[in-house]
Structures are given as C-alpha cells and as structure tokens.
Symmetry: C2
Subunit: 452 residues, 2 copies
C-alpha cells in the first residue's frame, strides 16, 4: 500500500507512545484521519512526573498534561476520543471495537498503532480493595492519592515494592510529613543493583527516617472502612495509606487476542520499524519490546523516553516513512532524597546470563574540583570485559551530576568503547562542575589496569 492509500490511522492509547505516533503521522500526512482511543479522561501526560506532583500539595494534578485532548483536536486535527476503551482488534476486517460510556463502536483503520502501555501488577491479597490502598499508574490514581493525603490526621505510610515508583513515593510521602516503611521482597534496592549501590541507597533511606524491610512479604491488609494495618510475614504494621508498587506488566491482551505475536519478554514482538507480526499494525511504548543494543534481543523495559521514540517511529512508518528504532541501553535514573542513582548497559547478572566475562571497578570521588565549595560524593562503578576491556555497563550514585554523567557512558556503550577509549575522553572541566580528573576518567583508568 503506498502512502497515499493510507486514509485512516487508529492509535490505541493516548499517553506517551500513542500521542507521539498520532502527532508524527499527522505531521507527515496532513490529510490523514487520525483517531486516538484512550480509555481514561486524560491524554499526553507526564506519567513519570506523577510522584513529584503528589509531593507538592499546591500543584494541580492536571498540570502534568502536556497537551490537552481538546488542543489535540483543535490545533492538531487529531480525533482524540477519551473514555473510549478498545476491546478488540479485528485484523480480518481492519477494525477496532471500542466501548464508550454511551455504547460500542467499530472503527476501521488502514494502519493501527497499539500503544496500550503497561499495567501494574495487582496482588491478589486479602483486603487489597480497602480504601487507602493505592497503585500509582494513571493520572486518576495520582489524583486519588493526592486527595487522600489532604487528610492531616495521616501519620504512617507503607510502600510495598522497591522499584522506581516505590522508591520515588517513599521520598514523596516522607516529604509530605509521613513516617514511611518500605517493604521489599528482593534483597537488593534498586532491584539488580550491586551491593555497594544498595548499601548507599539503604543508608540514604535510613538517614531520612524510612524504615526499610527488605526480604519481607505482604500477606494482606486489615482495617475498618479503610486500611489500618499491613500484614507481613514478619508481623503487622500500622498504616494510614498504602502504596502497592510491585511492578508492571506489558498490556498485551488486545494484541494477543488478535493473534499478534508476543515476544519472549512478554511484550509485543516488533521489528526495528516497530511493525508487529500483523500487516499494517505497529506497536510502541511499554506494551512493545525494546531491542537491547548489547544483548541484541527484545526486552520489556518500560520507559517514557523509549515510548516517545518508538511512538514517533511507529507513527512515521505508518504513513510510509522508513525510520528505524536503534534500541535501548537499559538506561535509568532516579532521585532518592538527596541522591541520584543511575545505571546503563548490563547489570552483573545480565552479563553473567549472557555468558560474558565481566569485571567491575568502583571509585568514590567528588563532584567538584579540589577545594571548590559544595562538592558532593559520587560513586562510579564500571562493568567491563577483562579481556580486551570492552565496556559493558555502569552504575552511578551521588549528590549531583549523576544523570547526565551516566549519559556519557550511554554514548560510550553505544559506540562500543573500551575502558581505554573511555579513559581518553576530553571531558569538560571547570571547578564548579567536576574535578580535573572527572570521576568517569578515574574509574576508567583503574579499569584499564585490569584489562589483559
């Protein structure tokens, strides 16, 4: 089908990937009929910003909306249909079945982008539906949490799960004046992090008064009319609010039921053009696999950045472009109180599973020049192949300068650098921003000595 034969693009899901796809397709083909089906009231919001919005009682929840559904309609000519849930993809008829408050409709498409995102794991626990127990996945859920927190009598919060959302909410709920307990099944925090990083994160949580229970399991919840206690394998805990953030899964039911191929990771299988196994059907964002550049395979790594990139590419290719998604490096950064914690590339266990011999070096340095005031500590941990020195990944943790410093490693990994290449970089230097030997160079120089 040539580009001009594409009359209508339907996009299922109106957050990062979906709205990127819709906008990109419409921009490239002005006469295209673009229909976005979004089951909630909201489109195009910064989901990653929700914890930080909750932190500030004076911020409106809808300031997270980048562009409103109304503006998409009037300014971009995109037919955004909120409260419209796609319930079936009929590949034979090239139609999507959708449910609205006022009934059901069938919408034909020439091209389809599936951007259904992911859904939080909902543990099947006694008392899980008590008021005061929340998950944080949609803007509506964020608004509910915020309303609950308006009650000044709240004293104790329990966060279940130590992933990004769990850790960010521990920070936020502490800032809102609550005594917070974090319950985490896995012994490491964040998950997969090496011991040296985990130890620093736990110390930071303790410094801010957070009680951390790693290796503990929630077995249920109790309360009269609202949550009052969390029952765990090590005993009950009082709680006035509970956040359950025990991970997410790709939202693939629609695609799977239509017979579209699901990858080994559990997310929708896509090629580097974001095309699925079904002709004319693309997938993008958290519901789709992301090709890991080093591991050379599709993985489920939900990220707002990836969703935006993949959505843009899916939307472009849906109207005849030839855009390629180059893959991800597994990059991540989060704020935990006064620390930034970041990683990219392979973790130790990913390297081991991939059969790669890997060695780590870690250094502690300052973020500013010798004697320059206000310097913070920073840890840089490099993972590399001792034979040849190829860089495999990195963790960083520190009081400033972490987020964009990890990105130097992202570029280095993408280029296939060795630790020797890394040590040679002409990185910027001025006393307010770095020591004369940037912490990355210090780590790379130590790693070089271990290469044979």
């Amino acid at each position: 089908m040539s580009e001009n034969d594409v009359k209508r693009l339907v996009v299922i899901g109106g957050v990062a990937a979906g709205m990127s796809a819709a906008s990109q397709a419409k921009r490239r083909q002005k006469d295209l009929d673009v229909v976005v089906l979004e089951k909630s009231d909201w489109v195009s919001y910064g989901a990653c910003g929700m914890p930080y919005n909750i932190e500030d009682p004076n911020r409106k929840i809808d300031d997270l909306v980048v562009i409103s559904a109304e503006r998409f309609r009037t300014e971009r000519g995109i037919d955004v249909r909120t409260r419209t849930e796609a319930t079936e993809i009929d590949l034979a008829k090239h139609e999507v079945v959708a449910k609205r408050p006022d009934g059901q409709s069938r919408i034909g498409f020439d091209r389809l982008v599936i951007a259904t995102g992911c859904t939080p794991v909902h543990p099947n626990l006694e008392g899980m539906n008590l008021p005061g127990i929340f998950q944080l996945h949609t803007l509506d859920q964020a608004a509910s949490i915020k309303r609950w927190l308006n009650d000044p009598s709240l004293k104790r919060a329990v966060v279940v799960g130590g992933g990004h959302i769990g850790l960010e909410l521990v920070d936020v709920l502490t800032a809102r004046g609550l005594a917070v307990t974090l319950i985490r099944r896995s012994p490491t925090l964040p998950s997969g992090a090496p011991r040296e990083i985990t130890a620093q994160v736990e110390a930071e949580l303790q410094k801010y008064g957070v009680e951390v229970r790693t290796g503990d399991t929630v077995v249920g919840f109790e309360g009269q009319g609202k949550v009052q206690r969390v029952l765990t394998s090590s005993g009950p805990l009082d709680a006035d609010i509970v956040i359950v953030a025990t991970g997410v899964r790709p939202a693939i039911d629609l695609a799977k039921n239509a017979g579209i191929e699901i990858g080994p990771s559990g997310a929708i299988a896509v090629d580097d053009h974001m095309a699925t196994s079904a002709q004319g059907v693309y997938a993008a964002g958290d519901c789709a696999e992301a090709h890991h550049i080093i591991l050379n395979k599709g993985m489920f790594i939900p990220r707002g950045t990836t969703a935006n990139k993949q959505g843009k590419i899916a939307g472009a290719n849906a109207v005849g472009a030839d855009e390629r998604f180059r893959g991800v490096m597994g990059t991540s950064v989060m704020r935990i109180f006064g620390l930034s914690v970041a990683n990219t590339g392979l973790t130790d266990s990913q390297a081991r599973e991939a059969g790669l011999e890997a060695q780590a070096v870690m250094i502690k340095a300052k973020t500013r020049a010798h004697a320059y005031p206000g310097a913070k500590d920073i840890l840089v941990r490099l993972l590399f192949q001792p034979s040849g020195g190829k860089l495999l990944g990195a963790y960083m943790l520190g009081g400033e300068g972490v987020a964009k410093r990890i990105d130097i490693i992202v570029a280095a990994l993408t280029a296939g650098f060795t630790v020797d290449d890394l040590a040679s970089l002409d990185l910027s230097y001025a006393p307010p921003y770095a020591p004369v030997w940037d912490p990355i160079l210090v780590a790379a120089n130590i790693a070089r000595k271990k290469v044979h």
Copy 2:
C-alpha cells in the same frame, strides 16, 4: 636504553603536567630519582580554581594546593625543588641548568619532562606596572589580587580580555561588590562563539550590571602611586583594580633554545607518546601541542585536564611504558554568573578553515521535565556536515546541566557519530534531571532533517 637504565628523571615545572609526570614515573619505578624544578614557591595547585578562591575572602589561597611540596618529598619520595628556575637545557650533556636564590646548579638527567606551562601575554602599555594592575597566572598573583581586594574602599574594576580568565574574574569581582567593566578587543564573547551564544553571554553580563565594551582597545593606564584610570580607544575609565587577561602563550623558550622542535601552533611538537624531537625528552601540558582528534593536527589548547593526562603519559613513557595520548576535542566549560557555557569539537570558523561543509541547528529547551519546578533554559547548538550528517561540534549554554551534557557530545564526537546516531541515544530521564526528550535529542532530531 632499557627501563632499568633510567636512574634520574628531571621534570621542569611543578604544576599539573609536571607533578603528574613525576608522580606517575615514581609510581612505576620505585627506585627512580625524580627531581622537580619549580621556579615559584608552589607546586601541584589547582590553577583553574584561583578565580573561585578569590571570590571568597575567607578561603586561604593555599587551600588550592592539592599536595604540598613537603608531602611530595616525604610521602612520595620526589625531590621537589621550589624557587628553582631552569634556565637552560643542555641536551649534549643531558643536564638542566637551574638558578636558585643561593646560586646556580646543573642537574643531570636520563629522561627529561618539560612542563613549563604557558605565560600570560604582557601588553607593552604605558603604566602597565602601576600597583593595582594584575595578571592572574600564578598562585602568588592570585594571592596579590586577594590582598588588594581586602581594601574596602575599592569601587571599580576593569577586566581587560574576554577569555576564560577574564570572564571568570568579571563574575568574581562582581561578587566581591565591585562595579565591573569588561574591555574586549574581539567582537565575540567568548572568542569564536557563534552570535546566538555571544548574545546570551552579553545579556547575562548586563543582567549582573557588568559594562561590556567589545571592540574596544586599551591604550594605557594612569594613576598616582597606583592605577586610577584605564585609557581606551573610546575614552578613559576610572578603576581601582585592573585585571589584564589578554591571553596566554606556551612557555617554550627553554625548549627552543635547546633546539627542540616547536610545532606550527607555537607549542612544543610532540608525538602521541609525548616525546619531543630530542631523544629522552618529553613535553606535557600547556607548553606542548595537543593533537586535535577531528582536525588531526597539533594545537595549542591549554587545559588543566590535558596537562594532567599528558603529564601522566609522559611520566609513564619516561620509564619505559607505551602509553599513547589520544588527543583532545577542544572541550571547554565555564561559569558566567548563573550560566554555564560549554563547547566541544569544531567551531564554525575551524570547520570553515578545515574546508568542511558545516551547518548548525540551535534549539532552546528546558532542563527538567514538563511542569517540574525549577527548570532552567538551555540552548543546544549542533554543528554537523549536511552531507552524511557527521557531527562536528556543539555549543551549550544554560542554567544547569550543561557541563556533563556537553560531555555526551564529546563521547559522540570521539566515536565519529552522525546526528542520526546522536538522536538514537538512550539517554537517561527522570523529571528532576531532563525533559523526556533530552535537549540533545531535540537538537539532533532537527539536525537529522537537514541531512542529505
């Protein structure tokens, strides 16, 4: 000569390159006799930190010293001789002639590292030697400036020259409560910067009350017993302190007089092992050329980072190692009041002189996610080849996140990335640190569209 025949290494110059060379050689060969000749009282100090030290009247000037001469002697076994000025290199006899307060001596060497740094250009102007007129190059000069600033009656400062040191001192002298005028011969600020960057820098200077006279020339100084007026081509200016920072030249006299080859840049010619044209003689730091990776030629680009890297390599190779200096990218960053200004790779004029077709795109973005509080503006300007899209260089300017963000470009340039490669990077994202589309990705995506 095998490693074991090297009994004595002499290093001329005890700042960044010299002390790095001395330390590295001694670390690799414990029984080596290492003699460092330093004409001042100070070794191993962070010269780049001097402006920031001057800013704070309560900081001691000698807290810039990383390791004292005494500690080098006692802890590292390095024979550091301060107040000892090398006056001649006798290549035939393998001796350095040095002058001390108590007389002259000749010191034999098996290997020599020349790390004489650079010297500030001293304009030959009427009244240039009046008290209150300073250059900032050595720790002693920094101490003199600081003593002069202790006088609370000072009102007006004039800074001559708009390079790094000039601009940093404008900031510092303003912070010390003086009314500052900056006189700058060249029309751009910083030198070589594109108009869009220059305009922002000038606006920032004006915002902080600095009077900027670009295209003006100083013709002399007047005063009774101390400087009181600066005479310029556009008229006289009152001044209670004057800083003359009109550039630096490599300190090559010793090397040149010994017949050691000087490169076309005016700095000492070296190979990638930091070896000069003379057998057994190395040069490192500001006095030596630095190989520019893109331009593929030796240049005079004085930087503390390069001095440390080159010194370490020279010291290693002096005792038989096979270490290679991979070159520089011309990276630079500086703080000007609330702005950070950085660049790396080629400037527009360098690209033009190299005969490279080059095109620029510039974007303005925010440093944090949509609706995240405290975001600052950031400009990213990419220079690239329109045919093929190879990245050539970048400028960045903004309120935060500039210094390490420019380093992502450093890695990309070192890897030979195109703007398409750059646009594909899996850069880190969390609302406190970047928008979901990092400003670099936004700029790279716009540049991609211009590539054919």
